[in-house]
Each structure stands twice: as structure tokens, then as C-alpha cells.
């Protein structure tokens, strides 16, 4: 039974605000008629995700989110857009004509995630009041002992991608 004393009011209010901001900006990403505005809205969505991680007392993941997505991915993205095509003002025709296909894909993804999370955790409660903060050391212990093989696999894929990009881009 859910008791009133179990509900953390401040965190729920915070979650509501952050989630609303994320949804609004996510809609602006796909509806904006300017590429740079869309990219900046995406930055807001990423920042919202980082804020959600902080709310869950996962500071390390939150900082990684900021460093990787806002500091590196989005900066490179904007850099690329501004080097090639970045008109000021409105641009028509930014929509791909196959955008309708995205709707069933999105619904399918939602279904899979809801099923996986529900099946994996069910009604398990995770203490998010700061009592169960997972330290950075614990995360690195996990990555570098039980999950070392997937970690190596991922690193190898990334290395291959980097070399592939260089081979494709080099003319000489």
C-alpha cells in the first residue's frame, strides 16, 4: 500500500517540472523550422535528462550526460551544421516525407521499454532519497570486472568506427 509518508513531494514536483520541460522541447526539436533552433532544443532535452539523473542521486551518470552529450556531441553537431547549412530565420521543407513511419516505431519502442522495465523491476522500490548513492568507485568496479568483456567489445566497435571515418574522409 502506498502511504502518504512514502511520497517524496519535492522530488515528485521536480520530476513533473523537468519532464514537462523535456516534452515541450522534444516537440520543438521536430517542429522547429530552423536547424539550429532544433539543435538547441535538443540541448535542453539532454540537460533535462541530466537533471533527472541528479534527481535519482546518480551524480556520475548526470555529469557524464553533460560532458558527453552537451559538451561534445551537441557542440560537434552544431559545429557541423554551422559549417555546412545554418541559415538565420525560417527554413521550409525540413520535414522528411517519411516522418509517419516514426510513429509506429516510437510506439513499439515505448512498448518494449515499458515491458522490459515492468518485467525487470515490477514493484521493487528504489530508494532515491540519497541513502543508496552508488559511488563512482562502485561503478568502475562493475565496469572493469563483471562487464569487462562488453566494455572491450564496445571500445573495439568505437575504434573501428573512428578508423572507418578517417578512411572515408581522407582523399589522398
Amino acid at each position: 500500500m502506498l502511504l502518504a509518508s512514502d511520497v517524496v513531494v519535492a522530488q515528485n514536483v521536480g520530476f513533473g517540472i523537468i519532464a514537462a520541460v523535456m516534452v515541450i522541447f522534444a516537440l520543438r526539436v521536430v517542429s522547429s523550422s530552423n536547424v539550429v533552433h532544433a539543435a538547441l532544443s535538443l540541448v535542453m532535452v539532454m540537460a533535462g535528462a541530466a537533471a533527472l539523473y541528479v534527481l535519482l542521486a546518480a551524480e556520475f551518470v548526470a555529469v557524464t550526460q553533460v560532458l558527453v552529450y552537451i559538451g561534445a556531441v551537441m557542440v560537434l553537431f552544431l559545429f557541423g551544421v554551422m559549417l555546412t547549412r545554418a541559415k538565420l530565420g525560417k527554413e521550409g521543407d525540413l520535414n522528411n516525407k517519411n516522418w509517419g513511419v516514426g510513429i509506429p516505431v516510437a510506439i513499439l519502442l515505448l512498448g518494449v521499454m515499458v515491458y522490459a522495465l515492468g518485467d525487470g523491476w515490477g514493484r521493487t522500490k528504489i530508494d532515491a532519497t540519497g541513502g543508496s548513492v552508488v559511488s563512482t568507485t562502485a561503478i568502475s568496479d562493475l565496469i572493469f570486472s563483471p562487464y569487462i568483456l562488453p566494455f572491450w567489445g564496445l571500445s573495439f566497435v568505437l575504434l573501428a568506427a573512428v578508423i572507418g571515418a578517417i578512411v572515408l574522409a581522407r582523399k589522398d
Binding site: 556520475f60 557542440v75 559545429f79
Partner: protein
């Protein structure tokens, strides 16, 4: 111990943060930009406002605040206005993690070093959109150059700090300070064990990267005034230019503070002098003495940054990129390897 209400603590933190951002900026601009540069060029610098020109800063700020807030006709007005604020926010977020004393800190959390590297990269975003939204080719070129440079020098900066993290075995800035002051060099604890002694390669790479991250000469291609007018700042005037200006020098100060925490022992004095052995046994007066020690170290380090700025000519764009990718990155990787090996051996 004094117990403070939550709102008093919050108020003190906001006030402290403002002081910790504005004080370094003011000190650096007056001491180095106004006076040291003038003396290096055989002139006196500002002498009229206040004794020895010391109130010149307030006159300048007053002048900027009076100016009209202009945005170019074809600019993307909203983004144009937000961009300088984004750069300044990054500075404020950066200072939040710097410890000034045993209890004098804003936040004290485990991933401190990582956090500092993450939020310092947010300013790149502000600079990029400032250049783009100005509707000016010089601005856009300056913004793109700045972004390319900041991305290139972010990497050696992260890698050079890793050496310190490996040696300290923690990413918490407060623990890093403790370790340096409680440490000893082969049993002699007269000066603690500041990491600059073992990580001097890391310190050098860190300071060079900071110079580049701040776009100070010899890395000031993004605002090269002889070719790009003023780069991404060209179209800004009034208090928005003032915000860029404050952010530039405040970030220099905050990076100097962080460098002193990582490499020079931070707020501490060697604990063996007073027989302290743990966090609890440190005397309370260090909460006043610590910030003073930090400011002293900040002035010395930012003095070096400015000294280099006034001494060297500008590097060319390709030299600048080559230096980052072909010299600094391999060198910092070697430094990490050497540190890791020595850490295992000793």
C-alpha cells in the same frame, strides 16, 4: 560548530559564489590587464580614477552599463541575447565545486573533477551560438574557430587531470587537497606532497590547455582582432559585452583556483606543521585562512597565464590544431601510462 538554517546557508552560498566569480575577475583585470601589461609596454596604465587608478574598473563597468543594448537587424535576437549568459553560467557552475577550506565549500561530491571538466565545456555552446546568431561572417568564423579550438584542447585537459586522479585515487577535490597536505616525500612531511612534484608534465599540459580554453594569446585565433574584428564578440555591446568580458577573466581565475587545488595543495598548509592528521582535527581558523591561501595561489597562477598572454605572438590555426593533437594528446597519454605504472610499482 555553528548551525545555520537552510535559507541562510543558501544565501551565503549564492553570495560566496558571486564573490568567488567577481573577485578573481576584478583582480586579474586591474592587476594584470591594466597594470602589468602597461608596465611591460613602458607606460603607466590608468592613473586618474582613484589612487593609482584602482577605481578605473568601476568607471569601466559604469560606462558599459550605460550603453544601449543593441542587437543587429538580421540577428536571431533571442539566441543572441541568451549566448553571453550561457558563457557566464558555465563559470558560476565551475566555481561551485572549488573547495576553499575544510568546511568552506559550496558542494563536496565524489565526481568533482569530472563535474568541473563537464561544465567547463558548456561555455563552448554559448560561444558557438553567439557567433552564429550575430548574422555576421566575422562572428561566425570566430565562433567556429573557437569551437574547433575548445574541442581540441578539452581532450589534453581531461587527460592531464587523469594523472592526478590516478595518483590521488579519488575524484573528490576536497580529498585531493587532503592527500597533498597529509602526504610526505619519502617520509619527509615538511611541505606535504603537492602533486606538481610528481605530475609536473600534467601541470604543464593543464596550464597550456587552460590558456587555449580561455582563448588567451598565443591561442587567440577566435578573436584575432587584425582579421576578425573581435570574432564572436564583434556584434556585442553594452552589458552583454561586459558579461563576455567578466566571464573571460572570471574563468581564468576559476581555472587558476582549480589548478592550485589539483597541483599545488589547494587551501591547505602541510598538516604536519600543526600536527593535524584527519579532517576533524583541522583548526577552524583554516576556514578563513584557506580562502586567503587560495586567492594568493590564484593571483600567482593567473599572473603566469597573463604573462604568457602579453609575451607571445599569436599561433596560426593549423599550428594550433597540430600542437593539440600531435603533441599534447600523446604526451598526456604517456603521462597517464607512466603514472599508472608507478602507482602499481610503489
Amino acid at each position: 560548530m555553528i548551525a545555520l538554517a537552510y535559507w541562510v546557508q543558501s544565501l551565503l552560498r549564492v553570495l560566496g559564489g558571486t564573490v568567488a566569480v567577481l573577485l578573481p575577475a576584478g583582480t586579474i583585470v586591474y592587476l594584470f590587464l591594466f597594470k602589468m601589461m602597461s608596465f611591460m609596454q613602458s607606460r603607466l596604465g590608468p592613473m586618474e580614477a582613484g589612487p593609482y587608478g584602482s577605481l578605473q574598473l568601476f568607471a569601466e563597468v559604469g560606462k558599459w552599463l550605460q550603453k544601449e543594448d543593441i542587437a543587429p537587424e538580421r540577428a536571431d535576437k533571442r539566441i543572441f541575447r541568451i549566448a553571453p549568459l550561457l558563457v557566464l553560467v558555465s563559470t558560476f557552475l565551475l566555481v561551485a565545486v572549488v573547495p576553499f577550506g575544510p568546511d568552506a565549500y559550496f558542494t563536496n561530491f565524489d565526481a568533482g573533477v569530472f563535474y568541473m571538466l563537464a561544465v567547463s565545456s558548456v561555455s563552448t555552446l554559448g560561444i558557438l551560438i553567439a557567433g552564429w546568431s550575430s548574422a555576421n561572417k566575422y562572428s561566425l568564423l570566430g565562433g567556429l574557430r573557437a569551437a574547433g579550438q575548445l574541442i581540441a584542447y578539452e581532450l589534453p585537459m581531461v587527460l592531464s587531470v587523469l594523472g592526478v586522479v590516478i595518483q590521488a585515487g579519488t575524484m573528490n577535490l576536497q580529498s585531493i587537497v587532503m592527500q597533498q597536505n597529509a602526504g610526505s616525500i619519502f617520509g619527509w612531511d615538511g611541505i606535504g606532497n603537492p602533486f606538481i612534484l610528481t605530475q609536473f608534465v600534467g601541470f604543464l599540459i593543464f596550464m597550456i590547455s587552460v590558456q587555449a580554453e580561455l582563448t588567451q594569446t598565443p591561442f587567440d585565433m577566435p578573436i584575432a582582432e587584425s582579421e576578425l574584428v573581435s570574432g564572436y564578440m564583434t556584434e556585442y555591446s553594452g552589458f552583454r559585452f561586459l558579461i563576455f568580458f567578466i566571464a573571460e577573466f572570471a574563468t581564468a581565475g576559476v581555472f587558476a583556483l582549480i589548478a592550485s587545488v589539483l597541483f599545488l595543495g589547494g587551501w591547505g598548509i602541510p598538516f604536519s606543521w600543526f600536527g593535524w592528521d584527519s579532517v576533524g582535527s583541522i583548526d577552524n581558523w583554516m576556514n578563513v585562512g584557506g580562502p586567503l591561501i587560495m586567492v594568493t595561489k590564484m593571483v600567482v597562477l593567473s599572473g603566469i597565464i597573463m604573462w604568457v598572454r602579453f609575451s607571445y605572438p599569436r599561433m596560426r590555426e593549423d599550428q594550433l590544431q597540430r600542437f593539440a593533437w600531435k603533441v599534447l594528446v600523446p604526451l598526456s597519454l604517456l603521462n597517464i601510462m607512466a603514472t599508472a605504472i608507478l602507482k602499481v610499482v610503489f
